[in-house]
Symmetry: C2
Subunit: 657 residues, 2 copies
């Protein structure tokens, strides 16, 4: 043992112990990364987010109390892993609920009623466009002749001859136009015999060929349970991975699932991840963190919940931002953050699931929604498709509030898009008590102007206690604090009371839930630093809208509909979002929350082959407005970093609304 090294034993709550030798000067966070111990670090180890809390059980580390770890907690052994370097052998406890970002997998049946309604609408739209249920996959039942002795034909050749004679393309030349999946060939001899020569064959019409078909799978006729043609729609968000398992024959959603993106321990934002991917082995670490740690286990759990084998998944679609797409495919994203910000690819062509290690049918086609720029990715082209704004003659604004914000403005004639550096606040990132819109999240609240007491709406069962604030809850709480005069236009606290706490570093917080009322025994409090982060996020969105409109020489009143998508949560209160100056002051009925539009676009690509071509067309036709170099954008942004705005005229009449 090198005497410069300290042994670190991580005791992971609800998991296995892992030990590693930390190098000299290496933080506990870096040691945890090296040991592949999941620990959230949305700020990538800068000490600002406070998410990487651990508890020191034995030994000594560097560091002292901070605003994230007050003296009392410090005395109990709590530390930020990013700010602690072992100075002896140590034993460190990693909390099971390390934070909102933990890659916890959640499989949720067929999804909520709200989601169900959005999907019903989407299916109606697809049907109206003649796009529904055409995955290119179909079952045929055939009877194969019994093998003869001597000169008898082999199993494969007897099957091919029968398909050539009776299949969907009778003119198909057996030798040249039928691909036989090795997976199916491996199953063929046994299947043929257990079915007594009667087979159900899964065929795929091959993309890019006129008459080509592939034999994807074989089943004995009358197999029980009956085989299913399943598909997966995947949205890979910077923060959250969401997946739909779909019956491709009916379009029905069999299971929904989500997990935190395992890459979060390398930073909440795409830039931190791109930097990490450039380190030795980094690209593979990031690829594996999203695929082997999130997507593949989700697929296994969701398949199990739906009662089918992962190999019954024959088609996969993926929508994600440009960086996530690069990392998912194992392609170096380095040049996305270097001038002139050029992706390795916009479109990828069909990929093969085996190359991506998804654990589904090895020949399943994986289609990735095309990007149009470094910061406007497939999540946006897919989302714009799902919003259907490209079909309308009237002007629509599309806003995707994920990690960062992306926007599109247009109609059936033109489409313009842009991305703004809103950061991860809308998904609870960069906010000390922030979390995803999942069980325990405060998704809405009302504050009593006199007592300053809050009334909270918490996601989950009736007795669910609060664990943090999701995006919609943050909008509500900040809107209420501002409405009640508890904070001023700069987001600083200007009233005192039981709910307002001031710390020794001069900062103040509003306690939405005291420790004894919370789900995890830690108070849910919103600090001035949090509010400041959120104001910058909402300012980025508002100034992006203003800039796009200015380029087109239009005012906000020109917008007929606003489609709000993303992980901010379905509980978003559009009036509060207007009150804090995040959205333009338009009548509430113009605003429509459309959920995870990226996932919905992926669903459309999955179930309707032509939707993919339409999304590619949307991508190719969309103009990209680069805000960072656009004259005037920075001024707009600075002006928007107030509540609601430095120019009060934009929000005249809202205060009383």
């Amino acid at each position: 043992m090198d005497d410069k090294q300290c042994k670190v034993l991580f005791k992971v709550e609800g998991g296995e112990d892992v030990s590693i030798f930390a190098s000299f000067g290496e933080s506990l966070l870096d040691a945890a990364k090296k040991a592949n111990v999941a620990l959230d670090a949305p700020c990538a180890g800068n000490g600002t987010c406070g998410k990487c809390r651990v508890k020191l059980l034995e030994g000594s580390v560097t560091g002292e109390p901070t605003r994230h770890i007050p003296a009392e907690e410090f005395a109990q052994g709590y530390r930020l892993a990013c700010a602690s370097v072992a100075v002896s052998d140590v034993v460190v406890q990693i909390p099971a609920q390390a934070g909102a970002y933990r890659s916890r997998i959640k499989v949720s049946g067929k999804g909520s009623v709200r989601e169900g309604k959005i999907f019903e609408n989407l299916r109606k739209e697809l049907r109206a466009m003649g796009l529904e249920k055409d995955s290119g996959l179909e079952f045929i039942n055939i009877e194969i002749e019994k093998p003869e002795g001597g000169n008898g034909m082999a199993d494969r050749e007897r099957l091919l001859r029968k398909i050539a004679l009776t299949g969907p393309e009778p003119e198909t030349s057996v030798e040249d136009n039928i691909n036989f999946s090795l997976h199916a060939l491996r199953k063929l001899p046994q299947t043929l015999r257990s079915g007594g020569g009667s087979l159900t064959v899964l065929l795929r019409r091959e993309p890019g060929t006129k008459t080509g078909i592939a034999i994807m799978d074989v089943f004995p006729a009358n197999a029980s349970p009956a085989p299913v043609i399943a598909g997966l729609a995947i949205d890979i968000g910077t923060t959250t991975v969401s997946v739909l398992l779909v019956d491709l024959l009916t379009g029905e959603i069999l299971t929904t699932g989500s997990a935190g993106n395992g890459q979060i321990r390398y930073g909440a934002d795409v830039i931190s991840r791109i930097i990490e991917s450039g380190r030795p082995g980094g690209l593979e670490r990031l690829r594996s963190a999203v695929t082997e740690e999130c997507v593949a286990p989700l697929i296994r759990d969701m398949s199990k919940a739906a009662g089918l084998l992962p190999e019954s998944i024959y088609r996969v679609t993926v929508a994600a931002n440009t960086t996530m797409t690069h990392l998912f495919m194992g392609v170096n994203p380095e040049y996305l953050r270097l001038e002139p910000y050029v992706p390795a690819f916009f479109e990828s062509g069909p990929l093969r699931s085996a190359d991506l290690n998804l654990g589904v049918h090895p020949d399943a086609e994986v289609l990735v929604a095309p990007a149009i720029g470094s910061y406007v990715g497939g999540d946006i082209t897919a989302g714009v498709f799902a919003s259907m704004l490209f079909k309308k003659e009237t002007l629509s604004l599309f806003i995707d509030l994920g990690t960062n914000g992306e926007l599109a403005l247009g109609n059936s004639e033109f489409l313009m898009s842009c991305a703004c550096s809103a950061g991860p606040a809308f998904e609870g990132g960069d906010i000390s008590c922030g979390m995803r819109a999942t069980d325990g999240a405060i998704e809405a609240c009302i504050v009593d102007a006199d007592t300053m007491e809050p009334a909270l709406t918490i996601i989950g069962a009736a007795d669910q206690k609060s664990a943090g604030l999701c995006g919609s809850g943050l909008i509500d709480l900040i809107g209420e604090l501002f409405r009640c005069g508890i904070i001023d236009a700069r987001g600083k606290f200007i009233r005192e009371g039981k709910r307002v706490r001031r710390d020794q570093w001069g900062g103040a917080s509003y306690v939405a839930a005291f420790a004894e009322d919370s789900a995890n025994g830690r108070e849910v409090a919103l600090s001035e630093a949090d509010i400041d982060n959120f104001i910058r996020a909402k300012g980025a969105i508002f100034s992006a809208i203003r800039t796009m409109l200015a380029v087109l020489d239009l005012g906000p009143e020109a917008i007929d509909d606003v489609y709000v998508a993303g992980g901010i949560g379905g509980g978003i209160n559009m009036r509060q979002a207007i009150r804090i100056g995040m959205f333009p002051n338009l009548p509430a009925e113009k605003y429509h929350y459309i959920g995870n539009s990226s996932l919905h676009g992926a669903y459309a690509m999955l179930t309707a082959r032509n939707a993919g071509a339409m999304i590619a067309k949307i991508g190719r036709g969309m103009t990209y407005l680069e805000l960072s170099t656009h004259p005037g954008y920075m001024d707009e942004f600075v002006a928007a970093c107030f509540l609601p705005h430095t120019n009060g005229d934009f929000f005249a009449g809202v205060e009383n609304g």
Copy 2:
């Protein structure tokens, strides 16, 4: 620890120690299989071949001296692993040179002069047929525009646009007809920048499409060393795997390599392997024994020897018998040995190397030569192609002497084939001192009729000592023993002398090399049991020839040329083969040794795309004669199991030849 179990520690010479618990009654051979310790067992553990010799270092096992382990060796601890069951914890030494079948890898530069001449002929023939050097792979050099900021195109799209404008198919629609290998896409961003925008792109014309192309790889222009388009031709024999690494642009052989087929520890013959494949996990064990243990390491070693990366291998062809093809592809071969003996497939279509775990370029196309029946496989269709007999108007006989014998008879008008159960004797199997035609093998010999002393020709360096007899050496030695009256027509010893040794079980042997003159300190001796095995093997070949001719109502004199292929060794003496009654009594000049014709056929498929189609056509047009059920074959076989034959008229005048 279960008290019924004994711990077995295998000390592998030149390898790692491995220990395992043997179940009650389990032989050391079975324990070795379970522990994945390579130990040859061509007879599959029946105690007949004597190849699974081990040395007991500690503890006790069941068993007693046998003809394979005489009392003296028994006392020294030698045992047959198949006949020994541990009755205590034991330590067992596994010899480094466990036998001829060990999967030892040999990489041999560009091959021998003899092989070189055969290849030169083959290339000439291919050239004459207009088939040379068309692998469908080509380099193009292109210059990519520098990326622009803002709305600039991604790397992939800039490359595709350039290829669409200037590539080999200018009319190609970029979106639909260019596949982009993920492997190439992953390399693209860095390659593009390190080459300053100048790229060498490897394109493949896609099979089954008219204008489709795939981008397989990218290199910086002027990369040093210059990239190579390499390909592999693989012959998977039941006993031996042979591989050629080829430069596809020149057709030049870069490296040759061979290894024993790692499946040998599950038995020398295909039936034992099919049975093993039906046991739990057996199919994967057999697939892995040939791929991960033989083919993949050979590829690594050969690539290294040629100074290139395995990912530079873009095309692979495989010729093998039907069982080997099934096992290589991981397809259940069970129905090959069950009535009515139907393979899972004759043809496989193009496969993808990644699915077969070869470790070469993941998108390399793998083409497998088609079989025509359970016992006439792709090795024969490829071999018949390489022999070029299908082009001739005159009648030719093709004989492949590998493990078992396969034959084809025909011309440009018709082709008939059959397989006979000759066993592995021609490759040294089922012969106690048998070995492959490699260093140390006696490939030829002359015996002095008076002194009975042999003059040996040994493969290898000038001072190479003998380690065993390969097929051609066996033919020579048996022919000489018969010529000199040392054995009679039934293969029994009828003279006594220093070279003839009789054991306590009543058997006799001829000592070709005494222990002190041998390569490994063990004498090289041919026993009556060995001779008996060989006589049955040669009888199977001769009776197969007789039966085919009888079906066509022809006599042997109708045959214009005989092409002898296979692992029997280039030193085969056709006159001796006639003397022992293995081949018909035709003038020596009608016989042509053509080496490993299966490998040569694979080479043709590799370098010339149309050769694959021609081989498929040969397969589809070839008639298969099932000998086992053919009336008269058994009588022919019995009559042929003498030296030279029960009907001496067939070989009139040979004795004096």
